[in-house]
């Protein structure tokens, strides 16, 4: 072998036959190839999961059990009523009033956000009281949610002050609103829907639980996923949004998310901390914009 041949071989950046892709990455790329080929029906894998028959049966059993109990209690009352004409002294004399907290909660509900109040108890707060997040803040957060989903850039822009240091997902983007918008468009291109389920106060900020969902991430079996955001305000504008990474603490969920990012953006440099960051996110938005049409071509509904 001459020296030129040897030099070429030595310069091979991938020596031997290394397994450069993990199984998850291989699976994801196979899914991508199948989707582009039309082997996989995206509509089929994205359709909502029907309730389990077992659940229906359980429902039926519960209904029957309730009916039986109802009949038995009714019969017992019927047979025992002559002996109990006089009500016991401890019986409350008045009808039950609506709890004040419920009324307060309803009165404080400016949008649909509070109707879906947080089901999970945030790790950072233990309060179970009705939300006391200022109406103005809730309205702004609701506006954030709707403009995100509607892609209304002008409206979205007004929700951030130019001094915002971080974008909604804690992507490090130097607070450049244009970059934020570019990223948002990337998100929208993937038809990612943001649903803010509810907010609780956190000092002078608001801690909100949000769910991301959408056809593309569902097609990749990586959605919906839930995160929490801490919204900071300057007046009525959102000045700072920090993501509290819930899923990152679970290894499986963490990898699920990372796999997804790696699939849509193979060159992404993911750094997981208390949140997560993506290096050069400006390029990511553009890359997603390029990536999403491929799903359209693949027959995505």
């Amino acid at each position: 072998m001459n020296s030129v041949e040897q030099m070429i071989r030595d310069a091979n950046p991938i020596q031997g036959e290394p397994e450069l892709l993990s199984k998850a990455e291989l699976d994801a790329l196979l899914l991508l190839a199948k989707t582009r080929s039309g082997i996989v029906d995206v509509q089929e894998i994205t359709k909502p999961i029907e309730p389990d028959k077992k659940d229906r049966r359980g429902w039926l059993v519960a209904a029957v059990a309730f009916a039986v109990v109802f009949v038995l209690v009714g019969a017992a009352m019927l047979f025992s009523s002559p002996a109990n004409d006089t009500p016991p002294a401890t019986t409350p004399p008045t009808t039950v009033a609506t709890p004040a907290t419920t009324v307060a909660a309803i009165e404080q509900t400016p949008t649909t956000l509070v109707e879906n109040a947080i089901e999970e108890t945030p790790t950072t707060t233990t309060t179970e009281a009705a939300p006391t997040v200022p109406v103005e803040q809730l309205a702004t957060i609701a506006a954030y949610e709707s403009t995100w989903n509607d892609g209304d850039e002008e409206a979205f822009r007004t929700l951030f002050t130019p001094s915002a240091e971080r974008e909604a997902d804690n992507f490090e983007m130097s607070g450049d609103v244009d970059v934020i918008l570019k990223h948002m468009r990337g998100r929208l291109a993937m038809e990612l829907e943001l649903s803010i389920e509810g907010c609780t106060p956190l000092g002078d900020k608001s801690l909100c639980t949000a769910t991301f969902d959408g056809l593309v991430p569902r097609a990749m079996s990586y959605a919906p996923w839930r995160d929490r955001y801490i919204f900071s305000f300057e007046g009525e504008q959102i000045s700072h949004i920090e993501m509290v990474c819930i899923i990152c603490w679970e290894q499986a969920a963490e990898w699920r998310f990372m796999d997804w990012i790696k699939t849509v953006e193979p060159s992404a440099q993911l750094v997981l901390s208390d949140g997560y960051t993506l290096a050069d996110s400006e390029e990511k938005g553009a890359a997603w914009l390029e990536w999403a049409p491929k799903w359209h071509e693949a027959g995505r509904p």
Partner: protein, 184 residues
Amino acid sequence: MREIATTEYENLYRSHAQVIYAYCLRRTTTDEARDAMADVFVVAWRRFDTIPSGDDALPWLYGVARNVLADKQRSARRRGKLFAKAVANFEATVPGPEAQIVRNSEHEAVVSALGRLPEKDREVLLLVEWEGLSRETVAEMMFVSRSAIDKRITRAHKRLAAVLGLMTQDVGTPPVTIEEGGEA
């Protein structure tokens, strides 16, 4: 019937995806390599009936990968640049001990010289030296005669040696001296 084809297709994918990805990764950036690899197997599905069986499937896939990359990298100049960039950035984008990355200034000089070769010559050379294909296989893959491949390789060697010679002033010895900071 479709299920059988799908199973065979998946087997084809699992047998060759890694090497096709490596092929793409040696020639372009990480994200484009993944995209190209997926596209190779899109073509494989569409042309599934025409894929040679057994060991001949891999050269066929290499051929598709070459066309897919050529399609993505429209101009030959861009391909040359991307090739050098892909190899240069490989360490940064694909970390991990399995990558077996050995980079030093000597290799960079070789890669740079490879990037300056005519694309057809470079491709033939790398299919043999990096992908480990026999010259006969490369000839079949490119629909040319074995002697044509021999000529291209000889020509590529000469050009490469000449380019490296310009850099090192000595074709017969390694191109970059230790004092330049090479790891040797």
